[in-house]
């Protein structure tokens, strides 16, 4: 369906990129969690190795994953999310890609 009679809100392009980033981070999170939990934790418990007293799979998947993805969330928001006005007016002079609103 052609809807050429108006231009999409210019803020949406950046907003879409941010939403995709969040989904990307979600998939990375799943992969990290899965690889460490089942990569290190699938053998018999008697053969587990330990990190700081925790079983290694648990340390890397649950504790490591929490720390790593908290940091990555911070990186994503600080370096890839952009401040923009949220008001209803459509004629903002706002251009994606620059930090200034």
């Amino acid at each position: 369906m052609q809807e050429d009679c108006f231009r999409d809100d210019p803020r949406y392009k950046q907003a879409n990129k941010e939403a995709l980033l969040a989904i990307g981070l979600f998939f990375l999170n799943v992969i990290w969690w899965f690889v460490f939990a089942y990569g290190l934790g699938s053998g018999p418990p008697s053969e587990y190795s330990y990190v700081m007293g925790f079983p290694a799979w648990f340390f890397w998947s649950c504790i490591g994953g929490f720390v790593v993805f908290s940091v990555l969330t911070w990186v994503m928001v600080t370096y890839f999310y952009v401040d923009m006005p949220l008001g209803a007016e459509t004629d903002y002079d706002w251009k994606p890609g620059r930090k200034e609103g």
């Binding site: 369906m1 809807e3 009679c5 108006f6 231009r7 999409d8 809100d9 803020r11 949406y12 950046q14 907003a15 879409n16 941010e18 939403a19 980033l21 969040a22 989904i23 981070l25 979600f26 999170n29 799943v30 969690w33 899965f34 939990a37 089942y38 934790g41 699938s42 018999p44 418990p45 008697s46 587990y48 330990y50 700081m52 007293g53 925790f54 079983p55 799979w57 648990f58 998947s61 649950c62 504790i63 994953g65 929490f66 993805f69 908290s70 969330t73 911070w74 994503m76 928001v77 600080t78 999310y81 952009v82 401040d83 923009m84 006005p85 949220l86 008001g87 209803a88 459509t90």
Partner: protein
């Protein structure tokens, strides 16, 4: 019961009432429209408050009482499962994102149903979502009320009925008078209590158990399964646990009480901050509480009832003042969840039913009074339901989380990002999604090993896309209002 715990409890309840009163004054002084003030706090939430209200609304008694109880019998595998909730903060705010906040301002939406109504312009979609909200929320809130009253009962030694009365009076009071602002500010305070409480208990239990290494040795001595990712007797299979990334991770985007928070923040800075704070906060709470539950087995292997694990461990490992402080945390978790749901329920009745269909231009004074009355009446209905809980309530609550997701997830998400999404698609998705859920729940609990929610969500997505493609696209004015 120790008097110290009772003292801490009542100080805490008084604080909540104080915040409610303070917000009632702010609501009255505000210059914007009353509905936007009362149901959305004038879209003025800052980063910290947004993070707290989003995560505490989501985190209920389940994460403080029931979840750790299961972790107690399943071991570290259940902590692994709980960690699938880490993304809630960045998913809800990141994926609904700025588009949701911008659109809500363009179309002046105050509730999620507001959004759906204007996007799909269909009475059927609105009616089905209203039915979904009223049915599921009444059940979910009543069950939380029951949980709150039981907890209060176990802490103070009052009877169930008296506990329920005190608990409901406090919550209904601050929700009714404080509105959205009261709810989010009490959420923020409750969030801080939950955080400190979790930290205290985590340290307390690990120290009491003799350090991590000793605890792990003792745990595997009880049963080596407890330190594997698979739970006892392989209860936690891989396809099943993977489904939780959808049920309690991605799917939470569709929960109206969570999503509505994506409309109410002040500016993009608040959203950025909230994503970071929310993620750290959720991760810490989920890890802390479930880990405490899991290692509880190494400290006292004889606890019989799952729901008493956390209270028992608290009394065993902490001194009475600290125990009182900690035990307010699950109560806070319950209060922050019901308060938001209660407000969504009353906003549904006032904004989505009354203002939308009965009287589009009500007088400001009238709507003010009605909003307070409806909120209070809703609270009273829930109170009556929880006083002698009928059976269907428990049954409905089983569906609440998954049911909400199968009704709201795709209509919200696709309506926001896909121009072609139309009302027929949304209707098909709501109807087929919930039908598939009811079918799976009764006849096919773990399709191919996955959790019951997965297949219905897929059915809902596919039917949404196919039916939208086959029917006429939405009106040009709608597209222009949402995208232009």
């Amino acid at each position: 019961m120790q008097w110290e715990i009772v003292v801490v409890m009542f100080i805490y309840l008084a604080l909540n009432i104080g915040i409610g009163l303070y917000c009632a004054r702010l609501n009255n002084q505000a210059k914007g429209g009353f509905l936007e003030e009362y149901f959305l706090g004038g879209r003025g939430m800052g980063g910290f408050v947004l993070a707290m209200t989003l995560t505490t609304t989501y985190i209920s008694a389940g994460s403080f009482i029931a979840g750790p109880g299961v972790a107690y019998s399943m071991g570290l595998g259940w902590v692994l499962l709980a960690m699938t909730q880490l993304p809630v903060g960045y998913l809800v705010l990141g994926v609904l994102g700025k588009r949701f906040a911008i659109v809500a301002r363009k179309i002046n939406a105050v509730t999620v149903i507001d959004f759906l109504k204007q996007r799909y312009d269909s009475k059927a979609v609105v009616v089905l979502s209203v039915i979904g909200i009223i049915g599921f929320f009444l059940a979910a809130i009543a069950v939380q009320f029951i949980g709150g009253a039981r907890l209060f009962q176990s802490m103070t030694g009052y009877s169930y009925e008296h506990s329920l009365i005190v608990f409901s009076l406090v919550v209904v009071f601050y929700v009714t008078f404080g509105g959205f602002r009261g709810v989010v500010l009490t959420d923020a305070m409750q969030g801080i209590v939950m955080f400190i409480g979790t930290a205290i208990l985590l340290v307390g239990v690990v120290v009491y158990g003799g350090g991590v290494q000793t605890v792990m040795t003792n745990l595997s001595a009880v049963n080596p399964d407890l330190i594997t990712p698979f739970g006892v007797k392989n209860f936690i299979s891989i396809p099943w646990i993977m489904s939780f990334w959808i049920l309690v991770g991605f799917g939470t985007i569709g929960l109206p009480q969570v999503a509505v928070r994506g409309m109410g923040y002040k500016d993009s800075k608040a959203m950025h901050q909230a994503i970071i704070i929310g993620t750290v906060f959720t991760g810490f709470l989920m890890f802390g509480m479930h880990f405490v539950g899991a290692i509880g087995k190494a400290i006292d292997p004889a606890i019989k009832i799952g729901d008493t694990v956390i209270p028992e461990l608290t009394k065993k490992t902490l001194n009475p003042w600290l125990a009182g402080l900690f035990l307010t945390a699950p109560l806070a978790a319950i209060m922050s969840t019901v308060s938001s749901q209660l407000l969504v329920l009353s906003s549904t009745i006032i904004k989505d039913l009354y203002v939308s269909y009965v009287n589009p231009n009500p007088e400001e004074r009238f709507i003010k009074r009605t909003s307070l009355i409806i909120t209070a009446v809703t609270g009273a209905i829930v109170f009556i339901l929880s006083y002698t809980p009928p059976d269907f309530l428990v049954w409905l609550n089983l569906f609440a989380l998954a049911g909400m997701e199968s009704v709201f997830l795709w209509p919200t998400l696709l309506g926001l990002y896909w121009k072609r999404a139309n009302s027929s698609g949304a209707l098909a998705s709501i109807i087929l999604g919930s039908a598939a859920y009811i079918y799976c729940h009764n006849f096919w609990a773990r399709p191919l090993g996955t959790h019951t929610i997965i297949l219905p969500l897929l059915v809902a997505l596919i039917s949404f896309v196919i039916v939208s493609k086959l029917t006429t696209p939405p009106k040009k004015e709608t597209i222009r209002a949402f995208w232009g």
